[in-house]
């Protein structure tokens, strides 16, 4: 049976070929299945996967408009040598393709649209049941976030005692997890949520492994880990909004060595035909983000003022995925103020990096956004929407550090001669001295990042060496835009 889902598919959409095949034995490990998708002289090799009940699927995210052809590969005669074609058409509105590293330190969609990362964190939101998960999606719809960090596996941790709705594996006769038999319903559910995020314009930063576990999924052997990674990639890589995060706090899984992480990175790198963004998140010790399979540095640190050092160290985008969370729980990482959360986004941005949000307010039913999603209670999201709005008005190639324009060594980013953005955080200068390029006129604006206002500088038009009066309050930014 050749049951491809559509004859046409939009660019960076998903073409899916569905075939029937064997159900006997263990198809997850005994049946190899893949397809070669070709566009002109270019071939993409994509693994297929078994979806239970004799159903085999293989997916393609076409990246070029025109006719695509395919042929399946399998050691199983029923699944081998199936050919066909589909037509890739122009993307629909809002579909800009997958994200890529752009200009060394930044990101852009495949169609060139700039992307200013404003992420949030809901580790286990897809394991909370439909009602709460739908609530999370409703919240995200009007939230400022364009990326979400989320775990594939369920989570066991403080405030996370509930069982997930689904489990990723079947149990064997003895009641133990059989890591050779995936539970397709579990992964179909994850896929559905990833697709809904995509439709909201939100990147899914998928955390493949994590230490917060009481089921044993954090302690699989190397063969099982690799099998799991291949299965996830085969299922999810065709979703254009997928990022791969190898782990959350990888260094809290000391039973896995750096060599294990290197190997698993390569499994993902080699299996994913679309080269989605790849990273790994630390607790204390950084993984060496300079390694070639790492596309960007995913960092947990509270001292975001180090952003520029990390850029220089790794020569890649710096994403501080965890700078601590707005909230009021008794943990140091979970009770910063909204003001501080917003400040960390700005401090990171004016050093050429990107930051991430999370929220941990105590709740009588332990419904904390950081893990379970639901609704937001904090005051930072509104300011992060304003932050994103301001940053999206900046240089298309990203905000790059610029020295020497804002006296005296205030952090400043922008595009030389055209655009400067600086931020003073907890500092409250009443005056700022500028060394603007001579002969170019700039419009100066004071941005109150907390009260979300933009007002003209006095004087408004600035050039050369000039001083600007500032309000003498914290949380102010200064923007200078060339008058054209």
């Amino acid at each position: 049976m050749n049951n491809n889902t559509a004859d046409t598919v939009e660019r960076w959409g998903i073409f899916e070929l569905v075939l029937s095949g064997p159900t006997s034995g263990n198809p997850f490990v005994e049946i190899t299945f893949a397809a070669e998708f070709s566009f002109k002289n270019r071939v993409i090799y994509a693994d297929g996967f078994y979806d239970g009940d004799g159903i085999y699927r293989v997916r393609c995210m076409p990246d070029a408009v025109g006719e695509w052809r395919y042929v399946t590969r399998s050691a199983c005669p029923d699944l081998a040598g199936i050919t066909g074609s589909f037509v890739c058409v122009e993307p629909s509105a809002g579909n800009h393709g997958p994200l890529r590293v752009h200009n060394t330190y930044h990101f852009a969609y495949a169609d060139g649209t700039p992307y200013v990362e404003v992420g949030t964190t809901c580790y286990a939101w897809t394991h909370q049941g439909d009602e709460m998960e739908e609530q999370t999606l409703a919240t995200l719809k009007s939230a400022p976030f364009n990326k979400i960090r989320m775990c594939i596996f369920p989570k066991h941790y403080a405030y996370n005692a509930n069982e997930p709705v689904y489990y990723p594996y079947e149990r064997d006769a003895g009641g133990n997890w059989d890591f050779t038999r995936f539970n397709p319903a579990y992964f179909r559910h994850q896929e559905k949520r990833v697709g809904q995020l995509r439709d909201l314009g939100i990147e899914a930063d998928l955390i493949l492994l994590h230490p917060y576990d009481r089921w044993g999924f954090a302690h699989m052997d190397a063969e099982s880990n690799d099998r799991y990674l291949r299965y996830v990639v085969a299922r999810l890589a065709a979703y254009r909004n997928v990022w791969w995060s190898m782990a959350n706090e990888y260094d809290l899984m000391p039973w896995l060595t750096i060599a294990d992480w290197d190997r698993m990175f390569r499994v993902v790198q080699e299996t994913d035909p679309y080269r989605h963004l790849r990273s790994i998140h630390n607790c204390r010790e950084f993984y060496d983000h300079a390694k070639r399979w790492v596309t960007h540095a995913s960092i947990q640190r509270w001292d975001v003022e180090q952003t520029r050092l990390w850029r220089e160290q790794y020569r890649k985008p710096v994403v501080i995925d965890e700078c601590r969370y707005e909230g009021n729980i008794p943990r140091q990482w979970g009770c910063i103020t909204a003001e501080e959360m917003v400040r960390r986004f700005w401090e990171t941005a004016v050093r050429g990096g990107y930051c991430g949000h999370g929220e941990t307010y105590l709740h009588p039913q332990d419904l904390l956004w950081w893990s379970k999603g639901g609704v937001l209670h904090g005051q930072s999201p509104a300011r992060l929407a304003f932050f994103r709005h301001i940053l999206e008005q900046g240089p298309a190639d990203g905000h790059e550090p610029i020295d020497g324009v804002i006296e005296y060594r205030w952090p400043c980013v922008g595009k030389s001669g055209e655009y400067y953005l600086t931020y003073f955080g907890i500092h409250q200068p009443a005056l700022v001295d500028l060394n603007l390029p001579a002969g170019i006129r700039f419009r100066g604006e004071i941005i109150d990042t907390w009260n979300m206002t933009v007002s003209s500088c006095v004087p408004e038009i600035l050039s050369g060496s000039v001083s600007v009066a500032m309000p003498g309050k914290p949380y102010m930014a200064l923007r200078l835009r060339k008058i054209t």
Copy 2:
């Protein structure tokens, strides 16, 4: 002529012997003059100094009650072999003697009285003329500060364009400074101000060299530097409230090598009979505070959360003499908020260190407290008075870091089993989990460090593993005192 100023002197007061001697030639370099002061079998060797007009002085700060005898030493017959005695009596109220390092990481007066350092900074206050200097003293009288950082030499820098009233040297016939001829009036003036600080209970952290100079005092040769240090020590060491700071931002004087600083440290160490506290202050690079002539680490850094690391590195008291200043000037180091200034004191304290204040608000006549003194405009001093009041109620041997009592790794200091103090800074936990020693009852108090209030915890009496409700606001501290 034997003109000792008094027959009795209080413990840690100043005995001064005044002699007349030669005026010809250059007495500053040609006449050696010193005295041996003896108490029982103990001898203190103190350099004397030429005070101009044929007057030679030598001073002693006796540290034991009873009869002291002296004999002068000089190559000049007029000044040699003069003997005499005086009686050292009990100190007057408020005289606790000089400060010493106590319990490795802390300070105490010589009589054992604990000292919680709350310093401020007025680099050039003694070079502003009597009117403003008297105003500074009046301000200090009701301010919370018990130490002040101040330069011996005048200062040239932003906001510091005025000439000093006095100069430390005479000029030669060519109009150049003669570094072999001190101006006694200059040093008499400095001494007077140091004495006035002493009478206010304020330690004078005397900065011996600094780079902010347009006169050449920062660029003397080694012989002149050493001569200067010996002269200052001979004049000022008998003041019990003196600390020696070898330099401010020593690393901004690259024409002096580390070997130069080592040598000058030893000059001060060997010349000062009373072993006053000795330190050196950095801009970017730390001097190696582990060297034996350094009594405590004097640090310029804004990331005061590193305090405990520096304690462990140097095994000495950590004094963050410059954590930036409350103010609104366009420099990063001079425009933090009052809230941030106060926060840095608390963050340092709950890691077992000490912090320093400064204030830099723009002023139409450039009268910034940080350099010139005058009056205070900021909101931090009132909170630092409260801070000092709270800290002075703590353990007499100093606040030592204690792990494991405040879950989860909040910084905590105190005395095990008796006293715990923790602080949450910009964090706003609504709940704190404690692991108090079983079987001991503690009274819990919530300290609002900004609003300067102390209120009882709910519950007030705490023991063992227990959770305490907190206000969920930033700038809160929690104090736990054993009920006796």
